[in-house]
Symmetry: C2
Subunit: 107 residues, 2 copies
Amino acid sequence: MASSDLSHPGVDDLEAGPVLLALADENRRRVIAELAVWPEEEGLCASFGLPVSKSSRTHHWRVLREAGLVYQRDAGNRLYMRLRKEDLDHRFPGLIEAVVTADRGTG
Amino acid sequence: MASSDLSHPGVDDLEAGPVLLALADENRRRVIAELAVWPEEEGLCASFGLPVSKSSRTHHWRVLREAGLVYQRDAGNRLYMRLRKEDLDHRFPGLIEAVVTADRGTG
Protein backbone atom coordinates (compact mmCIF):
# COMPACT_ATOMS: atom_id res chain seq x y z
CA MET A 1 0.00 0.00 0.00
CA ALA A 2 1.33 3.36 -1.04
CA SER A 3 -0.21 5.48 1.70
CA SER A 4 1.42 3.40 4.47
CA ASP A 5 0.28 3.96 8.03
CA LEU A 6 -0.87 7.57 7.80
CA SER A 7 -4.29 7.58 9.41
CA HIS A 8 -6.86 10.27 8.67
CA PRO A 9 -10.08 11.04 10.51
CA GLY A 10 -13.26 10.55 8.50
CA VAL A 11 -15.23 13.61 7.48
CA ASP A 12 -17.87 12.92 10.14
CA ASP A 13 -15.20 12.76 12.82
CA LEU A 14 -13.82 16.22 12.13
CA GLU A 15 -14.16 18.41 15.22
CA ALA A 16 -13.90 22.16 15.57
CA GLY A 17 -11.59 22.02 18.60
CA PRO A 18 -8.62 20.19 17.05
CA VAL A 19 -9.08 22.07 13.77
CA LEU A 20 -8.93 25.47 15.50
CA LEU A 21 -6.04 24.36 17.69
CA ALA A 22 -4.14 23.25 14.59
CA LEU A 23 -4.88 26.58 12.91
CA ALA A 24 -3.81 28.60 15.95
CA ASP A 25 -0.18 28.02 14.99
CA GLU A 26 1.24 30.53 12.54
CA ASN A 27 3.42 28.04 10.67
CA ARG A 28 0.57 25.61 10.23
CA ARG A 29 -1.70 28.42 9.02
CA ARG A 30 0.94 29.35 6.49
CA VAL A 31 0.93 25.80 5.08
CA ILE A 32 -2.87 25.76 4.93
CA ALA A 33 -2.87 29.14 3.18
CA GLU A 34 -0.40 27.85 0.57
CA LEU A 35 -2.39 24.67 0.01
CA ALA A 36 -5.60 26.70 -0.23
CA VAL A 37 -4.31 28.56 -3.29
CA TRP A 38 -4.53 25.34 -5.36
CA PRO A 39 -6.76 23.12 -3.25
CA GLU A 40 -6.87 20.39 -5.90
CA GLU A 41 -3.10 20.02 -5.93
CA GLU A 42 -0.80 18.06 -3.70
CA GLY A 43 2.12 19.89 -2.18
CA LEU A 44 5.45 18.25 -1.47
CA CYS A 45 5.89 18.49 2.30
CA ALA A 46 9.59 19.25 1.89
CA SER A 47 8.71 22.26 -0.27
CA PHE A 48 7.15 24.26 2.56
CA GLY A 49 9.97 26.43 3.79
CA LEU A 50 8.95 26.59 7.42
CA PRO A 51 11.61 28.21 9.60
CA VAL A 52 11.65 25.30 12.04
CA SER A 53 13.58 22.08 12.61
CA LYS A 54 12.79 18.88 10.71
CA SER A 55 11.28 17.30 13.81
CA SER A 56 9.04 20.36 14.33
CA ARG A 57 7.92 20.14 10.72
CA THR A 58 7.07 16.47 11.17
CA HIS A 59 5.08 17.42 14.26
CA HIS A 60 3.20 20.13 12.35
CA TRP A 61 2.28 17.70 9.53
CA ARG A 62 0.94 15.25 12.08
CA VAL A 63 -1.17 17.90 13.86
CA LEU A 64 -2.63 19.03 10.52
CA ARG A 65 -3.35 15.45 9.45
CA GLU A 66 -4.83 14.28 12.73
CA ALA A 67 -7.09 17.36 12.95
CA GLY A 68 -8.33 16.49 9.47
CA LEU A 69 -7.01 19.56 7.71
CA VAL A 70 -4.86 17.71 5.22
CA TYR A 71 -4.49 14.39 3.47
CA GLN A 72 -0.95 13.15 3.62
CA ARG A 73 0.43 10.64 1.13
CA ASP A 74 3.67 8.81 1.57
CA ALA A 75 5.23 8.08 -1.83
CA GLY A 76 8.37 6.22 -0.93
CA ASN A 77 10.75 8.82 0.41
CA ARG A 78 8.54 11.75 -0.50
CA LEU A 79 5.61 12.96 1.52
CA TYR A 80 2.79 14.87 -0.11
CA MET A 81 0.00 16.92 1.43
CA ARG A 82 -3.33 18.13 0.13
CA LEU A 83 -5.92 20.35 1.80
CA ARG A 84 -9.15 18.50 2.64
CA LYS A 85 -11.04 21.45 1.24
CA GLU A 86 -14.24 19.64 0.35
CA ASP A 87 -14.49 17.92 3.74
CA LEU A 88 -13.65 21.12 5.61
CA ASP A 89 -16.06 23.25 3.62
CA HIS A 90 -18.76 20.66 4.21
CA ARG A 91 -18.13 20.39 7.93
CA PHE A 92 -17.07 23.99 8.72
CA PRO A 93 -18.51 26.24 6.02
CA GLY A 94 -16.45 29.39 5.51
CA LEU A 95 -13.86 28.58 8.17
CA ILE A 96 -10.79 27.93 6.04
CA GLU A 97 -11.51 30.93 3.85
CA ALA A 98 -11.96 33.12 6.95
CA VAL A 99 -8.70 31.90 8.49
CA VAL A 100 -6.72 32.39 5.28
CA THR A 101 -8.25 35.85 4.83
CA ALA A 102 -7.46 36.74 8.46
CA ASP A 103 -3.75 36.32 7.88
CA ARG A 104 -3.86 38.16 4.59
CA GLY A 105 -5.25 41.13 6.50
CA THR A 106 -2.33 41.08 8.90
CA GLY A 107 0.44 41.41 6.33
CA MET B 1 -13.41 54.44 36.87
CA ALA B 2 -15.95 51.71 36.38
CA SER B 3 -13.98 49.44 34.10
CA SER B 4 -11.13 49.03 36.62
CA ASP B 5 -7.94 47.37 35.40
CA LEU B 6 -9.34 45.14 32.67
CA SER B 7 -7.07 45.75 29.69
CA HIS B 8 -8.21 45.06 26.15
CA PRO B 9 -6.12 44.91 22.98
CA GLY B 10 -6.91 47.56 20.38
CA VAL B 11 -8.57 46.48 17.16
CA ASP B 12 -5.30 46.84 15.24
CA ASP B 13 -3.53 44.57 17.71
CA LEU B 14 -5.91 41.65 17.25
CA GLU B 15 -4.02 38.61 15.97
CA ALA B 16 -5.32 35.43 14.41
CA GLY B 17 -3.16 33.13 16.57
CA PRO B 18 -4.50 34.07 20.02
CA VAL B 19 -8.05 34.37 18.65
CA LEU B 20 -7.95 30.84 17.18
CA LEU B 21 -6.29 29.47 20.30
CA ALA B 22 -9.01 31.03 22.44
CA LEU B 23 -11.67 29.56 20.16
CA ALA B 24 -10.10 26.09 20.20
CA ASP B 25 -11.62 25.51 23.64
CA GLU B 26 -15.14 24.15 23.63
CA ASN B 27 -16.29 26.10 26.70
CA ARG B 28 -14.98 29.36 25.36
CA ARG B 29 -16.63 28.70 21.98
CA ARG B 30 -19.89 28.11 23.80
CA VAL B 31 -19.65 31.52 25.47
CA ILE B 32 -18.84 33.19 22.15
CA ALA B 33 -21.76 31.41 20.48
CA GLU B 34 -24.13 32.64 23.21
CA LEU B 35 -22.83 36.20 22.98
CA ALA B 36 -23.08 36.07 19.18
CA VAL B 37 -26.83 35.56 19.36
CA TRP B 38 -27.28 39.12 20.66
CA PRO B 39 -23.98 40.77 19.83
CA GLU B 40 -25.15 44.20 20.97
CA GLU B 41 -25.95 42.94 24.46
CA GLU B 42 -23.75 42.46 27.45
CA GLY B 43 -23.90 39.10 29.18
CA LEU B 44 -23.41 38.67 32.90
CA CYS B 45 -20.31 36.50 33.25
CA ALA B 46 -21.91 34.59 36.12
CA SER B 47 -24.83 33.64 33.88
CA PHE B 48 -22.77 31.37 31.62
CA GLY B 49 -23.29 27.94 33.06
CA LEU B 50 -19.90 26.50 32.18
CA PRO B 51 -19.30 23.10 33.79
CA VAL B 52 -15.97 24.17 35.28
CA SER B 53 -14.63 25.62 38.52
CA LYS B 54 -14.80 29.33 39.31
CA SER B 55 -11.04 29.70 38.80
CA SER B 56 -11.28 27.99 35.41
CA ARG B 57 -14.10 30.35 34.42
CA THR B 58 -11.98 33.33 35.45
CA HIS B 59 -9.17 31.93 33.31
CA HIS B 60 -11.49 31.51 30.33
CA TRP B 61 -12.74 35.12 30.61
CA ARG B 62 -9.18 36.35 30.67
CA VAL B 63 -8.18 34.32 27.59
CA LEU B 64 -11.21 35.64 25.71
CA ARG B 65 -10.53 39.22 26.76
CA GLU B 66 -6.79 39.16 26.08
CA ALA B 67 -7.31 37.61 22.64
CA GLY B 68 -9.69 40.47 21.88
CA LEU B 69 -12.83 38.38 21.53
CA VAL B 70 -14.79 40.12 24.27
CA TYR B 71 -15.04 43.37 26.12
CA GLN B 72 -15.28 42.83 29.85
CA ARG B 73 -16.77 45.39 32.20
CA ASP B 74 -16.44 45.28 35.93
CA ALA B 75 -19.52 46.82 37.56
CA GLY B 76 -18.72 46.55 41.23
CA ASN B 77 -19.21 42.92 42.11
CA ARG B 78 -20.64 41.97 38.75
CA LEU B 79 -18.65 41.27 35.64
CA TYR B 80 -20.16 41.73 32.20
CA MET B 81 -19.00 40.54 28.82
CA ARG B 82 -19.80 41.59 25.29
CA LEU B 83 -18.62 40.15 21.99
CA ARG B 84 -16.33 42.51 20.06
CA LYS B 85 -18.31 41.66 16.95
CA GLU B 86 -17.55 44.81 15.00
CA ASP B 87 -13.81 44.63 15.68
CA LEU B 88 -13.69 40.91 14.91
CA ASP B 89 -15.72 41.20 11.72
CA HIS B 90 -13.47 44.05 10.62
CA ARG B 91 -10.26 42.21 11.38
CA PHE B 92 -11.30 38.60 10.61
CA PRO B 93 -14.24 38.73 8.20
CA GLY B 94 -16.50 35.71 8.52
CA LEU B 95 -14.45 33.98 11.21
CA ILE B 96 -16.82 34.24 14.17
CA GLU B 97 -19.79 33.25 12.06
CA ALA B 98 -17.87 30.25 10.69
CA VAL B 99 -16.82 29.12 14.17
CA VAL B 100 -20.32 29.47 15.61
CA THR B 101 -21.76 27.62 12.59
CA ALA B 102 -19.14 24.87 12.94
CA ASP B 103 -20.39 23.96 16.38
CA ARG B 104 -24.00 24.15 15.36
CA GLY B 105 -23.22 21.53 12.72
CA THR B 106 -21.83 19.19 15.37
CA GLY B 107 -24.94 19.00 17.48
